[in-house]
């Protein structure tokens, strides 16, 4: 059985949301940073097992420093959220708990996965230690550039949504 699920990818600007989606959907990466405005929507089928697959409709939202500014219309009918931050820029995760709280108030119910991106630019072991020391509540540390853990994020989300279904 194949279902469609709307997944919203959000976070501050420049954290690599578009790159993360591009890596997941097309398995490509570009170092050129093009600012996303508004919303880009793409589609990808995630196969959970031989009998089960889910179609992700991925909404890549324009990055913002203020989560309150996300337009509610974009979030209508959301099944899952991927909140992305940039591990190299503390400004994108220093208010992470508050940011997630605001997103949770806007979308009540759906699972939210917190993803630290751009791990290729930093020592992963040190980063994990730093995240632990600063109690940054992340679910995945990814690199859209190398592809590390990108697939795992969406598989996890698909599994969570499957459990909820």
């Amino acid at each position: 059985m194949q279902r469609s699920r709307k997944i919203v990818v959000l976070g501050h600007f420049g954290v690599g949301k578009t790159s993360l989606i591009r890596r997941f959907v097309e398995d490509t990466f570009s170092d050129n940073y093009k600012v996303s405005i508004g919303v880009h929507i793409t589609k990808k089928v995630v196969v959970l097992n031989a009998d089960d697959a889910v179609t992700f409709i991925l909404w890549d939202l324009e990055g913002t420093d203020e989560m309150e500014q996300i337009r509610d219309a974009y979030l209508l009918g959301t099944h899952g959220v991927v909140f992305v931050f940039d591990v190299t820029r503390p400004s994108t995760f220093q208010n992470l708990i508050r940011d997630i709280e605001i997103v949770r108030q806007k979308i009540q119910g759906p699972p939210i996965l917190v993803v630290g991106n751009k791990t290729d630019l930093i020592d992963l072991e040190k980063l994990e230690q730093q995240m632990l020391e600063n109690t940054i509540p992340y679910d995945f540390l990814t690199s859209a550039k190398t592809g590390n853990e990108v697939e795992a994020v969406f598989l996890k989300l698909a599994t969570l949504l499957n459990e909820d279904a």
């Binding site: 469609s4 709307k6 600007f13 420049g14 940073y33 093009k34 600012v35 405005i37 508004g38 919303v39 880009h40 929507i41 793409t42 589609k43 409709i57 324009e62 990055g63 337009r71 219309a73 974009y74 209508l76 009918g77 190299t88 820029r89 503390p90 400004s91």
Partner: protein
Amino acid sequence: MRMLEQYKQQYLAGNIQFAIVDPNGKVLDCDQHVLPIAPGDSLPDFHPFFECITEISKGAEEEILLNCVHLPGKDSEVIADIHIHRKPEGLLVIIYDLSQHYNNYQAVAQARNESIIKEELIVLKNQELEEREKFKNTFIQNFSHELRNPLGSMLSITNLLGNTPLTSEQRQMIAFLKDSNQNLKLMLEDILSISMIATGRLALDQKVFDFHKFLELIRFTYSAKAEQKGLSFALEIDDKIPERLTGDRLRLYQVLTNLLDNALKYTEEGAIGLRISLNQRRANKVYLRFVVTDTGSGIAPESIPKVFESFSRADAPANVKGTGLGLPIVKGLLALMESEIQLHSSLGKGSEFYFDIALKYPLPSEEAAWLMESPATYTLPPWAKKGKKFKLLIVEDDEGIQTVLFKFLMDTGCFYIDLIYDGARVMEAVIQDQYDLIIMDVDLPNISGKQLTRLIRGLPMDPLKSIPILGLTARAYEQNLAGFRASGMDEVLTKPFENNTLLNTVFTLLK
């Protein structure tokens, strides 16, 4: 009116598309102005964005506006605002093509975001560099602090050994040992100086001093040093320069000796020199130019920028030893004095280092208060020779320093000495025995010298609470010394210290 409608058609209609769709997103009717869709098409099949139609049709909202949605147009991407209205026939979808407007906005957002990210990364990079620099300087400070204790022991024990009966061969070895210790001490001081300059912990100590006497000391020292190397040393002083000036004598001495030592190092024949001229005299300041010259190997033009970098020894021959810190120290100290070192050099002919500084000349009242510094030589004061012995308590956890202090002070025959390793036992000893003086390491393991001093100063018994306390520390920074004095210590000596300095201080405090 008809004309106006025509214009509206021309300029607006091409950018707006209307479609009526059923709850599953199937197009019931539409025009084709923006997106290539036709009646009968499925919008969700055309683009996944329209999967939201099903969700909207289930909801209660009468209308929904979704801004800035990227969709595939007839020829290229369209960026549109999509307005969806609930109507009796189904959903009315109005698509406003605002590509031009949003593309302009994208360019502005691109520039703004790039600039913010760039600025943020620069701040982070600077923070990282500052942290690394801080770590390096803290490491150097701690390391030199740790080196001071064993170096102090080595200096003192070498001096003590030199005073015992020795064969001539042993005397040579002691002389070599003394020389090596002295070099080590100088290098340690260089490293400390450079780290203090780098961390901004070095402050100038402006005092009145005899400028001509100061230069005489330099003349005496460098004439001897130059002669040892078969060179000559010339000192030229403008006689219009006042005798007494106000400035940091020690730091100026450090600048000049570093430059002259450098000149000596790189000169194998000929001469080195120091020339001081009066540039101008204004208000109560004299503006002086100091020029240090040599006829040495010179520096290649491409190496000149490097000579003031720490640990860089541009074009240094293998036989010339040193840390490469002398000139960076000169540069740092002169920056503190609001001056800058300049250099002219010709390869094979020699170099000329020069700088300009302003020194104040003292007011008559300041000059009257000025006291000549006396050299630190050790002679027992007459009142100490009458057979009276003083009772000293030495609190020191480092065995090497403890042995040196004990032996040296006992050898004078002027003291009874009690030794305590553990700071926790000090109060008990102070109350039980009447000491004339306490010599205390300020960096004790369990309780600090500052805490102990405060406890002693807080005792209710008058003779006890005013016992003179001499602190010993390896932390040479001025703010540390001030902190120790503020805790109630009468005097603080920085390790390593000369035995004579120690004894003179002890007698000054006992008197």
